[in-house]
């Protein structure tokens, strides 16, 4: 390509390092390349280690979706060594994962995504009394007085006068910002409230798992003993504290996050038709909340929507996964055209791009550290919109009803969920469902404790002497950003192969050998109509990229080479 490309690097307000290269003409994007620009090689580090330690390494793939890799890892190990965990441990893991997802979704919206829609400088011009009326019209949230909004406004104004700090260089005044000052002020106030909310509610992790970020997990269960008659264990004091946190989490989701997303979306209805990406969407369903091995069963089972047919859910088959390296800086003996199943890969990092500092990456066939996973040859979207759309296709009543209400308010059909706005809206919608689920899991845990069943650990398979000499396992997890799976091979008590197939890998992948774009790229370049008014202030691009909630440290990983004699078999 001879034409000079538009480069956006760094993409900020994401996890990790992402660069977008674009071709654009007359305010429309023609083509797009997503370049992940960080590689760490954690799966390689895992080779030869004790499988019971793997979660603590894998967890450090990401500190934003902290916990999801740990869960997927211990499930893969438990699958391999045939370990069943006690019901209380399962409920505790669900509560920990659920709280992490709620925190993650809310923080994504306010702290990583909102500034794409909310003009902070315009908020300083709002009338606090009118803002109060606006807030009261969409939610019963108690912090909605004129005095409160005036205080927020004064505080941010005084701060801005002393240096804009994180707001420096923002695209304030960009014509693509459309909220009235009052809506901007309301969202800005909630940005600040969400900052204190997130650190309060996440203390559920600290009680069950010691800390956050990077809470502690355990192969065989959870390490927190429950004993109502001891000071240091999970007792009534801790249970009461957590009941408060779950309530606080739910209230913020129902009264602030969900109404804010609907209110802001109503000013940007065109974004329900912008950013449509790959018409294939995958979710491993509710079953992935409590399984080791391949996800099966559950209220709505693992499934895919394919080729834009959003009414038919196809059963998920883990044998149909393959990863390609034709656009990524890896080499494999099978060559670049061959896609490999997670059990099969022997991939090595092999950088062939320009030496930094460089101007352009996408002028070469390989331009990213992110491999390209495909399902049955298709690029696939994963994440909240995939989960919601798959659940709707399967007729999950609660999801259908909420989606109907929300889409009614936005005057859009189900296909609108595959869009920039759709991805952002589905994240809020599933938070409502998940917040309700937290109540149920917590009630179930309390019932168990009441019945005298407090076991949190199964020690039968703890000692490596109880394991088969050779074993394979897989662990699935519906992480905040989508379907996650870890794949492990164990031999003589040690890891010989480790692989993670990660949500942001599905979404941020580059071209496959057939030239099919990855979902980020497709969302920007798919219809040839994605707007970009001002290449130096690419606000519209940030909206679409952020709608995926990128997590690039997660996206990049490498297969462990060598099977160590373990027979490769796909189950």
């Amino acid at each position: 390509m001879a034409s000079e490309r538009i480069v956006i690097d760094p993409i900020t307000r994401i996890e990790g390092h992402l660069r977008i290269e674009l071709e654009a003409d007359n305010g429309r994007i023609g083509d797009a390349w997503a370049c992940a620009t960080q590689f760490r090689g954690i799966e390689r580090v895992l080779q030869g280690r004790d499988p019971r330690d793997a979660w603590a390494f894998a967890q450090r793939i990401c500190g934003v979706c902290t916990g999801v890799h740990a869960i997927a890892s211990i499930r893969a190990v438990e699958d391999a060594i045939k370990c069943k965990i006690p019901p209380c441990a399962e409920l505790i893991r669900n509560l920990v994962s659920g709280m992490a997802t709620l925190q993650d979704h809310v923080m994504h919206f306010y702290h990583l995504h909102a500034l794409d829609w909310v003009d902070v400088m315009s908020a300083l011009k709002a009338d606090p009394a009118a803002t109060s009326r606006l807030a009261a019209s969409v939610s019963p949230w108690p912090n909605n007085s004129a005095t409160w909004y005036a205080e927020v406004q004064k505080r941010v104004a005084a701060s801005a006068a002393g240096g804009l700090g994180i707001f420096s260089g923002g695209y304030w005044g960009h014509p693509a910002y459309r909220l009235p000052p009052e809506a901007n002020l309301m969202a800005l106030a909630h940005y600040l409230e969400a900052l204190s909310w997130q650190r309060d509610i996440i203390r559920l992790h600290t009680i069950f798992a010691g800390k956050n970020p990077h809470p502690n997990y355990l192969v065989g269960g959870m390490a927190c003993s429950i004993n109502l008659n001891n000071q240091i264990t999970v007792n009534q004091v801790r249970l009461d504290e957590m009941a408060g946190m779950i309530d606080q989490a739910k209230r913020f989701v129902l009264e602030v996050y969900y109404p804010d997303v609907l209110a802001i979306a109503s000013f940007y209805p065109d974004y329900a038709a912008i950013g449509a990406s790959s018409p294939n969407l995958m979710a491993t369903g509710e079953s992935a909340w409590s399984c080791s091995g391949a996800p099966a069963g559950g209220v709505f089972p693992a499934a895919l929507l394919m080729d834009g047919n959003y009414g038919t859910a196809h059963p998920f088959d883990p044998k149909k996964l393959a990863e390609f390296v034709s656009s990524a800086w890896y080499s494999q003996p099978e060559g670049d055209r061959q896609g490999l199943h997670p059990w099969q890969g022997q991939t090595e990092p092999h950088y062939t791009g320009p030496k930094p500092p460089f101007k352009e990456l996408s002028d070469r066939p390989k331009y990213t550290w992110c491999k390209a996973p495909r399902y049955d040859g298709r690029a696939v979207q994963v994440g909240p919109n995939a989960r919601i759309m798959v659940a709707v296709a399967q007729g999950h009543a609660e999801t259908v009803q909420l989606a109907k209400e929300g889409l009614g308010k936005l005057r859009a059909g189900i296909e609108a969920l595959n869009s920039t706005l759709g991805r952002t809206y589905c994240r809020a919608l599933e938070s409502v469902i998940l917040a309700r689920r937290m109540d149920q899991w917590f009630a179930q845990l309390n019932e168990r404790i009441k019945s005298g069943d407090t076991a949190t650990f199964n020690k039968e398979r703890w000692e490596p002497s109880t394991w088969p000499k050779q074993a394979q396992g897989m662990g699935f997890m519906e992480a905040a950003r989508g379907t996650l799976s870890h794949w492990i091979e164990i031999e003589n008590g040690r890891i010989v192969r480790y692989q993670a197939v990660v949500p942001s890998t599905w979404n941020s992948s580059g071209r496959d050998p057939g030239g099919q774009r990855g979902p980020y790229e497709e969302a920007l370049a798919g219809g040839g109509k994605h707007p970009l008014l001002d290449a130096k202030r690419p606000l519209e691009v940030l909206r679409t990229i952020h709608s995926f909630d990128p997590c690039i440290s997660c996206a990049v990983h490498v297969l462990v080479p060598g099977g160590g004699g373990v027979e490769v078999k796909v189950r």
Binding site: I8, T12, I61, T66, A126, G162, I166, R537
Partner: protein, 393 residues
């Protein structure tokens, strides 16, 4: 508004002083505040526009917000996430009132060119530099690039005019998990490549939020780094072992151990040493500051300490569930065990003290060489003293 406010004011001086330097009189200043009050529609508020203007004037006059650049290199973002959980310096107060966080990729508004311009401008002014993440040296730095340049170059540019460099977290300290064997990317820590000045290390994977924010606020309050140990870690956080302050310590001394997770001893809150706890070898404030606003910490919540504040813990503290070697004599009766352990614990403590004294000596030597306590910080407006200092040396 952003145009006029963002340029020129260095953050090293009060906003009122800055305006005075620009020839703005007190009268003009108050009038400006009044106009802001109108702009914000404050006249309709209780107290009216005048009270609002006075309040803004007071806040602005005293504003001294030092510029901070917070880089994220090769890492997982867990350390910035941890910072966001701080209870002692809530992040909203930190970024709105205490510092001007001019560059941080997780939180900042602009991307691409606009972000790079912000960074360039901030680099040219006095600033504090916080760093998350390691620096991969292999493949000419292609394992982590930002704005098309290597993490190494990005770091070096940002460090050039930094008044102080603080490495936040295990990646920035020595490379952490990606530096674990076989360290494919050649990941190293900040102090491995920034060698012309002292680097403060806030250890941990990640560090507790309050240790990050307190190191920062200590700088802001005293103008120099807090006293450090031999690894450059602040003593207020890393001066003692977790074991010394552990709520399960009495069980350790009494020989009461959990032998399996969730066994009767675990349910009684007994010591996790036999399950692999690394607390006896780990210098960290987990048992005192605790995590997430003092809620709890791993050992208290039933999981053995992984030793994540110690260098190369992924290689040196693993397997995580194996006992620390050579720490006690197992296999005796309860009474004998208690006695033996009592003695072993004393010996270990003495060992710990000895190690720690040695570390302090090293720290002092380093401190003497670099004199971090006496280095005035330009970022706090201390440029004159710094010039004097430079003349003397």
């Amino acid at each position: 508004m952003n145009e006029s406010m963002d340029g020129g004011w260095s953050g090293g001086e009060g906003f009122r002083d800055y305006l005075a330097r620009r020839g703005v009189t007190r009268r003009d200043f108050l009038s400006f505040c009044g106009r802001m009050a109108v702009l914000f529609g404050a006249a309709s508020l209780p107290g009216g526009g005048r009270a609002f203007a006075k309040d803004v004037a007071e806040r602005l006059s005293g504003a001294k917000r030092p510029s901070v650049i917070y880089l994220q290199l090769q890492e997982c973002t867990g350390c910035v996430e941890s910072l966001l959980r701080s209870g002692s310096s809530p992040v909203d107060r930190l970024v709105l009132e205490q510092i001007s966080l001019d560059y941080n990729e997780l939180l900042m508004a602009p991307s691409g060119t606009a972000a790079e311009e912000v960074l360039k401008e901030a680099e040219g002014r006095p600033h504090l530099l916080l760093v998350n993440g390691s620096v991969p040296l292999n493949a000419d730095g292609a394992y982590c690039t930002i704005g098309g340049d290597s993490a190494l170059n990005v770091l070096k540019r940002a460090a050039q005019k930094a008044s102080a460099v603080i490495a936040v977290g295990a990646c920035a300290e020595y490379g952490c998990v990606q530096a674990a064997s076989p360290n494919l990317t050649g990941a190293v820590g900040v102090s491995d490549v920034i060698t012309d000045r002292p680097v403060v290390n806030i250890s941990g994977c990640p560090p507790i939020a309050e240790t990050i924010t307190a190191t920062l606020t200590y700088y802001l309050a005293y103008g120099h780094p807090p006293p450090l140990d031999g690894n450059g870690r602040p003593l207020f956080a890393y001066g003692q072992r977790i074991h010394d302050k552990c709520p399960r310590r009495a069980s350790f001394d009494a020989g009461q151990f959990a032998d399996s997770f969730d066994d009767d001893n675990a349910r009684q809150g007994h010591c996790l040493y036999r399950l692999g706890c690394k607390g006896p070898a780990t210098f960290a404030p987990c048992a005192t500051v605790e995590w997430n606003m003092g809620q709890s910490f791993p050992i208290k919540a039933g999981h053995p300490c992984l030793g994540c504040t110690e260098r190369h813990f992924y290689d040196r503290m693993t397997p995580f569930y194996d006992r620390l070697p050579g720490f006690m004599v197992p296999g005796l009766g309860v009474e004998a065990t208690a006695n033996t352990i009592g003695i072993a614990a004393v010996a270990a403590s003495v060992g710990g003290v000895a190690v720690h004294s040695a570390a302090t000596v090293i720290a002092k030597k380093r401190a003497k060489k670099a004199r971090p306590e006496t280095l005035p910080l330009a970022v706090l407006g201390d440029t004159e003293k710094r010039e004097e200092q430079d003349k003397k040396t």
